[in-house]
Every structure is written in structure tokens, then in C-alpha cells.
């Protein structure tokens, strides 16, 4: 039982904290707000040089073999700086899906290129009709003479238009035409039949919805050798939720720190806002929820390699609880900044929106409390 950081982890935290504080300033955010790419390739190169893109990748594939704790340290700092680089899409989700599902040859071909910053990935999985059910995929993949043909629609593809390749989930039709296992397919951006509707994402970065109309892919576009990809998707999404939880903690901590400062400086009725007990108690509640969120994010990271039910319970518990805390902290931060909190003149709104995006990604609190209850044998999902 030891929850203290190792020396290496401490160094990692110091370096990412420093980098984020120096690089991701309010000015930087203003400059990149309308950037069609949503992130800076120069900064991505620096991420690679710092070893962050290699962090969770196995050493055999050019990585550093780090785990969920290290990812959490990076993500928390990224939250403080509202970083919009496609780290979650490419490293936390993309590289992990390749590592979980890909053949040895595919891993050798893809993972070292991610580590060196030469390849970015996005995960196209969610569909409108699925709500947050990871198993619900209507997009189909049909075997053709030369490979595969994919058709369907995806929503909420983070960084979809900004990356070099998409990982698209599709249900593989059986020989008799009935739908079967889930497969994951590598689809290079710009492939014929792919239509992207790119948008500026709530809270920073880009996202897109996309249609696949008879997209033709080579046989080796399928990750792995035909096993059902659902367990891997669940594993990777659970870990992504732990990582997102850490990012949310960084955002919430920033909102708390900023709001605390503001209530000390802002004077009304001849005294600082923070002299009022109603404000002090509100801030105590905010601090408490930030701390609870911190505990839950850490817990989900520590359980990232547990057996599936324990891992999923921890991930859903964290997602639900942190989501609930995040909404409270975000709304109170705006409230305590008064009218200024509702304007684009302060940074508060940007942090608020990133937390709102966090809460809805992969399902909100209600969905994850239900999933937790189902995994606990209490109800059927």
C-alpha cells in the first residue's frame, strides 16, 4: 500500500506542469481557437521529444511501458492548460486499441510511429442510436474479394479531421448476411466514400461526425485476426475514462484556485466576497468535491489493470462521480465570478465548457451509475 509518487513519476509531473504552464497560456488558446486543425503540430513534435507519446506504449514497440498513473499525471496537467492536442485520441485510445487488438505486424508498423509523433489516430465508434452503449454498432463491414467494404455513420469522433488515420468500429457480417462480431478497421483520412463534418469541439479542439458509404479497404485494414473487438473496446474506454477523469481534476483544480483568488480580490459592500459565510461554505463544498474527484480518478487509474468487472465498476464509478462533481464545480465557479463568469472575457467559461464536454463523453453520470449498478448485479442495464 503506497500511494506516493516514485522519483520518476515526480520528475514527469514537474516536467509536464512546467511545460503546460509555459506553453498553454490564455494567449495560446485565443490563437488556436479558430485553428482548423485544433492543435499545434509543433507542440505535438515536442510531446514526442519529451517522450510523452511513447509513454504507455510497450518497450518492444518503441515505447516507455508506462501505465495509467503516468497517463493520469499528464492528463491532469493537460486539464490545467486545456490542452487540445489529440493525446487522448492517439495515445490513450488509438495506441491502446492497436496494442490490444492488432497483430504483431500491425503493432510493429503503427506503435513506433505513434511514439515518434509521425502518426495520429482517432477512434470512430459512437453512433447516434447507440446513446452510450459500447456494444451498439450499426455500421457494417462486409468481406469483399480484395478486403472490406464499410457503411454507416459515426458521431463524436474526437479530432477526426485532424489525424492521419481513423480506427472505425463496424459489425462484421457473417457469410449468411447476419451481423456478427465487432471489428476495428484502420481507415486513412481522405479514403473514398468517407464524408467528414468537422466541427469546433465544445471546450477546445476539434471533433467530427462522419459517414462511410461503401468505403473499400484492403484486407489488412482489420486490426487483429477476426476476434470480437468489444472486450478490447471496453478495456480501452474504461482506461480512457480514468484518463479523462484525471484531466477533469486538473480543470476543476484550476477553477477552484481561480475562483478562490477572485473571491478574495472582488469587493462588494466594502469587503471581499470571501468574507461572507455563504461564499466560504460554497467554496468548502467545491474544494471537497475536487478532492473526491481526485480520489476517484486515482482509484480508476489504480484499477486500470484489474479484472474486467472490477475495472469497469471503478471506471464507471469514477466517470459518474467526477461528472457530478465537475458540473457542480463548474457551475459554482461561474456563479461566484458573477456576470463576468458568463462572458468570454475570462477563462472560466473555457474551463466550464471543457468540463461539460467531459461529462457527456462516453456517457454522463446517470448512464454510469446505471452501468455500475448493472455490473454490481443490482439491475439489468
Amino acid at each position: 500500500m503506497d500511494l506516493t509518487l516514485s522519483d520518476e513519476q515526480r520528475l514527469l509531473r514537474e516536467s509536464v506542469d512546467r511545460f503546460v504552464a509555459e506553453t498553454f497560456t490564455a494567449d495560446h488558446r485565443k490563437k488556436t481557437a479558430n485553428d482548423p486543425l485544433g492543435y499545434s503540430p509543433d507542440i505535438w513534435k515536442q510531446f514526442a521529444e519529451l517522450g510523452w507519446l511513447a509513454l504507455p506504449i510497450a518497450e518492444a514497440h518503441g515505447g516507455l511501458g508506462g501505465g495509467a498513473i503516468e497517463i493520469g499525471l499528464l492528463m491532469e496537467a493537460f486539464g490545467r492548460g486545456l490542452v487540445s492536442e489529440p493525446f487522448l485520441s492517439t495515445v490513450v485510445i488509438g495506441a491502446a486499441l492497436v496494442a490490444e487488438c492488432g497483430t504483431e505486424a500491425q503493432q510493429q508498423a503503427i506503435l513506433p510511429r505513434i511514439a515518434e509523433g509521425a502518426l495520429t489516430l482517432a477512434f470512430a465508434h459512437s453512433e447516434r442510436a447507440a446513446r452510450f452503449d459500447l456494444a451498439h454498432v450499426d455500421t457494417t463491414a462486409t468481406k469483399t474479394a480484395n478486403g472490406w467494404r464499410l457503411s454507416g455513420s459515426k458521431i463524436a469522433v474526437l479530432d477526426g479531421a485532424a489525424v492521419s488515420q481513423l480506427i472505425v468500429s463496424a459489425r462484421i457480417a457473417n457469410a449468411n448476411g447476419a451481423s456478427g462480431k465487432l471489428g476495428l478497421f484502420l481507415v486513412p483520412g481522405g479514403t473514398a466514400g468517407l464524408t467528414l463534418r468537422d466541427y469546433a469541439r465544445l471546450g477546445g479542439g476539434r471533433g467530427c461526425n462522419l459517414d462511410l458509404r461503401d468505403v473499400q479497404l484492403p484486407a489488412d485494414a482489420l486490426l487483429g485476426d477476426g476476434g470480437d473487438a468489444l472486450p478490447a473496446i471496453e478495456t480501452v474506454v474504461d482506461r480512457a475514462m480514468a484518463a479523462l477523469g484525471a484531466e477533469a481534476v486538473g480543470i476543476m483544480q484550476t477553477l477552484l484556485d481561480t475562483t478562490l483568488e477572485y473571491t478574495k480580490i472582488r469587493k462588494q459592500f466594502g469587503r471581499p466576497l470571501s468574507a461572507n459565510q455563504v461564499i466560504r461554505h460554497r467554496l468548502a463544498d467545491v474544494a471537497m468535491q475536487v478532492d473526491e474527484a481526485r480520489s476517484m480518478a486515482l482509484r480508476a487509474a489504480l484499477m486500470a489493470n484489474a479484472e474486467p468487472v472490477a475495472r469497469s465498476r471503478a471506471a464507471s464509478g469514477a466517470k459518474a462521480k467526477i461528472g457530478k462533481c465537475a458540473r457542480f464545480v463548474a457551475e459554482q465557479a461561474v456563479q461566484l465570478h458573477g456576470a463576468m463568469g458568463v462572458t468570454e472575457e475570462l477563462d472560466i467559461g473555457a474551463y466550464f465548457k471543457r468540463l461539460l464536454a467531459f461529462d457527456t463523453l462516453f456517457g454522463g453520470s446517470a448512464h454510469h451509475y446505471r452501468r455500475h449498478a448493472a455490473l454490481s448485479g443490482r439491475v439489468h442495464a
Binding site: M1, D2, L3, T4, L5, S6, Q9, I69, L260, T263, K264, S274, Q277, R280, H281, L283, A284, D285, A287, M288, D291, E292, A293, S295, M296, L298, R299, L302, M303, A314, G317, A320, K321, A366, Y369, R370, H372, A373, S376, R378, V379
Partner: protein, 398 residues
């Protein structure tokens, strides 16, 4: 980072589990499950204290020279968790966990030699004389006065919310020995024999129907000056030291988890018509369980800091606040789970020794009283409002 315990700690866990299963009788377990007040009655609680003492485990937090077992923070965690899991009696904390540490920290060698062994063995049963009718959250405004008369103090005044005063043979009390500039000055920490002439006790029933607290009156009560702990007028410092223990003492998540499990088991059984099939109940159970997970992790973060010799900081207020709120959420869930059987009021006590067949199944009896009595969790030991004041000041620096 690592959530698992070492092989030695696992072995210790087995030792604790084995000892509990050998020692905890079915009667103690049933009595504990059927007790809707905070602490077990002394016949049950002290029987367990004696069992722990005979193993050398009577006071986990005490230094070894006074009879503590010299456990690491991890061992204390394991011990508390195993006790919670097994459903051991809730021993009144006033002795081992409250007055004990004050006597160890500030008492004279004579006081230590006399009182500490009697706390460990359960020979003495303590109550706490802090609150007064006019001094609740504003504790240091207390008015019970001790006037020096030769080698004695003569005490007049009244204390209230005195848990188990009707069972206790000793009380530790904060009394006013002088009037200082600040109301915190001039308070002294005194040990009182409850059999001293002039002490009377009035029972106060809580809304759950339990007699756990009392009002105690002092009418020219003569107490030797030798019974004062530490310096005259410094009692507030000692009293606050003890309140920190009260707030941060022990590990609450394991107990809360067991309380939730009890409610979950009831919800899954025919005795509640399988309340768990209500999706709203099932979801709220998950919500409370996740809150307990967060609390447990916070407690483990504190434990880890203690293990490595770091100061965990002012988190005890934060933990006290969450523990009390979660405890109330569990009991509220309990009331919803048992549904209309909650209408039946059973006034007789204790539930584990009724002379008649109760109107509802026995295991349902404590559920509503626990909820009702449990409203006190956010009030005693510094109300939630006081805890928020402390967090604002100590954690946020406001």
C-alpha cells in the same frame, strides 16, 4: 503506486480475521446489528473491549509503553477494516480514543499509571462533558465553573448531550476555572468520578427512541485538584486536540461499506419484497457505494501520507463532513428500502432482548431509528457548518 498490502500485512490480516472469528460471539454480533444508536451498550461493548485487551489490541493508537500494539498505519487500517467486516460491537470511543490520548499527551505520570490501564481493561467507562445547553457549536463559551477550595475544585453547572453518562463511572470535562480575555482562556480539563455527591443525570431520548445521551447536573461537586489534566486554564488546547481525534479518528469507509451491505442485503431479500428491483433504489445504491469508494480512497491517501511520515494536512474536517453525509445517505436509503414496514414503532429496548415478538421482522427494527438518530451525525463533533468554516479557513486559507 500500489493498492495492495504486503505479504506481512496479509498475514496480519489473517491473524486479525482469525482472532475475531474465534472471539466474536453470535450474541455480540446480533446485538450489534440490532443496535440503532451510535455505540453499543456497555455490556456488549465492554465485553468486546476486554476480548481485544486480552490479545493486546485494546488501544491500537496508543504508544507501546502505555499498552499500544505498536502497529503501523497500514496495520491499523487492516484492523479497523476487519472489525467492520465482521460486525464487531461499536465500543464507546470516549475512553480509548478520546480521553486516553489526552492523558497520554498531557497527563501526569500518576494519572497515566492510574487511568490508562483501567481504560484498556474496560474497568472504567468514560463519558465526555463538553457541550452545555448554551454552548453547542460555540463550545468555548461554556459556563460550568470550577472554583478552587484548598486541594479541591467545587464544580457547579450542567453538561448536555453526554453520551452514556448513565453508564459511565468517569467523566472528562471542560470547566471554567477563570475568566480570561478570550473565552477560550481559563478553561481547564478535569477528570470527574461520576459517583461524587452532587452529580445527577437526566436521560434524553433521541427521536429514534433510544436513550444514549443525557444532561448532567453539577451541584457543589467537590473534585480534587489532582484530577486536573495539564495546566490550569489550558484545557481548550487539550480539548481541541481531542476533537481532532474525534473527527479524524479511525477509518470510516469500511464501516459505511458494511452498513450499505446490510441495506443491500435487505433490499435483495423477500423481507422487503425485493426492493432492489426498483431501478431507482438500485441506482442510488451505486451512487452511495461510489461515494464510499471516494471516501476510502481519500482515507488511503491519508494513510499513505502517514506511512511515509508526511503530514496529511487538514483533511480531517473534510473526511468528517463526508462520513456524516454518507452515513445519512445510507440510513435514508434504508428507510426507502423497507417501505411501509417503517411505520411500525417498537419502543422497547434493546431490540436484541425483547420480551415479545415484534410486529415486523427483527432485522427491520433498527432501520428507521438508525435514520432518525443518524440526523445527529452532521451535528455532533462540530456540525457540518462548523466543518465548512474550518475547511474555508484551514484548507482554503480564507
Amino acid at each position: 503506486m500500489d493498492l495492495t498490502f504486503s505479504a506481512e500485512e496479509r498475514a496480519f490480516e489473517r491473524e486479525v480475521r482469525d482472532y475475531i472469528s474465534e472471539t466474536l460471539t453470535p450474541e455480540m454480533k446480533r446485538a450489534t446489528a440490532l443496535t440503532p444508536s451510535v455505540f453499543s451498550d456497555p455490556d456488549i461493548g465492554m465485553a468486546w473491549q476486554r476480548a481485544l485487551h486480552s490479545k493486546g489490541w485494546g488501544a491500537p493508537g496508543w504508544p507501546v509503553e502505555h499498552g499500544g500494539p505498536d502497529w503501523t498505519p497500514a496495520q491499523r487500517w487492516i484492523f479497523e477494516a476487519e472489525c467492520a467486516r465482521a460486525g464487531v460491537p461499536n465500543v464507546n470511543v470516549m475512553g480509548v480514543k478520546m480521553v486516553g490520548p489526552v492523558i497520554i499527551g498531557f497527563g501526569s505520570p500518576e494519572q497515566q499509571n492510574f487511568y490508562l490501564p483501567r481504560i484498556l481493561s474496560g474497568e472504567d467507562y468514560w463519558c465526555q462533558g463538553y457541550s452545555e445547553p448554551g454552548s453547542g457549536s460555540d463550545l468555548s463559551s461554556l459556563k460550568t465553573r470550577a472554583v478552587r477550595d484548598g486541594d479541591d475544585y467545587i464544580i457547579n453547572g450542567t453538561k448536555i448531550w453526554t453520551t452514556h453518562a448513565h453508564h459511565a463511572n468517569r467523566m472528562f470535562a471542560l470547566v471554567r476555572t477563570s475568566d480570561g480575555e478570550r473565552q477560550q482562556d481559563g478553561i481547564s480539563f478535569i477528570l470527574i468520578d461520576m459517583k461524587t455527591p452532587g452529580i445527577t443525570t437526566r436521560p434524553i431520548l433521541t427521536i429514534g427512541g433510544d436513550h444514549e445521551v443525557n444532561q448532567v447536573f453539577f451541584d457543589d461537586v467537590r473534585v480534587p485538584v489532582a484530577n486536573r489534566v495539564g495546566e490550569e486554564g489550558k484545557g481548550w488546547t487539550y480539548g481541541k486536540y481531542l476533537l481532532e481525534f474525534e473527527r479524524g479518528s479511525g477509518i470510516a469507509s469500511a464501516k459505511l461499506r458494511e452498513a450499505l451491505k446490510t441495506i443491500t442485503d435487505l433490499a435483495g431479500s423477500e423481507v422487503t419484497g425485493r426492493a432492489i428491483e426498483d431501478p431507482d433504489i438500485a441506482m442510488r445504491m451505486s451512487e452511495v457505494e461510489v461515494d464510499i469508494d471516494a471516501l476510502e480512497m481519500t482515507e488511503l491517501r491519508v494513510l499513505s501520507a502517514l506511512q511515509t511520515g508526511q503530514n496529511p494536512g487538514a483533511v480531517s474536517s473534510l473526511i468528517k463532513l463526508r462520513v456524516s453525509e454518507i452515513r445519512q445517505a445510507v440510513t435514508r436509503l434504508g428507510v426507502d428500502v423497507i417501505g411501509q414496514d417503517g411505520l411500525a414503532v417498537e419502543p422497547a429496548r434493546p431490540f436484541y432482548r425483547l420480551n415479545h415478538e415484534p410486529a415486523i421482522p427483527e432485522e427491520l427494527l433498527p432501520v428507521v431509528p438508525e435514520y432518525l438518530n443518524g440526523r445527529a451525525y452532521t451535528i455532533f463533533g462540530g456540525s457540518s457548518e462548523i466543518q465548512r468554516d474550518i475547511i474555508a479557513k484551514m484548507v482554503l486559507g480564507l
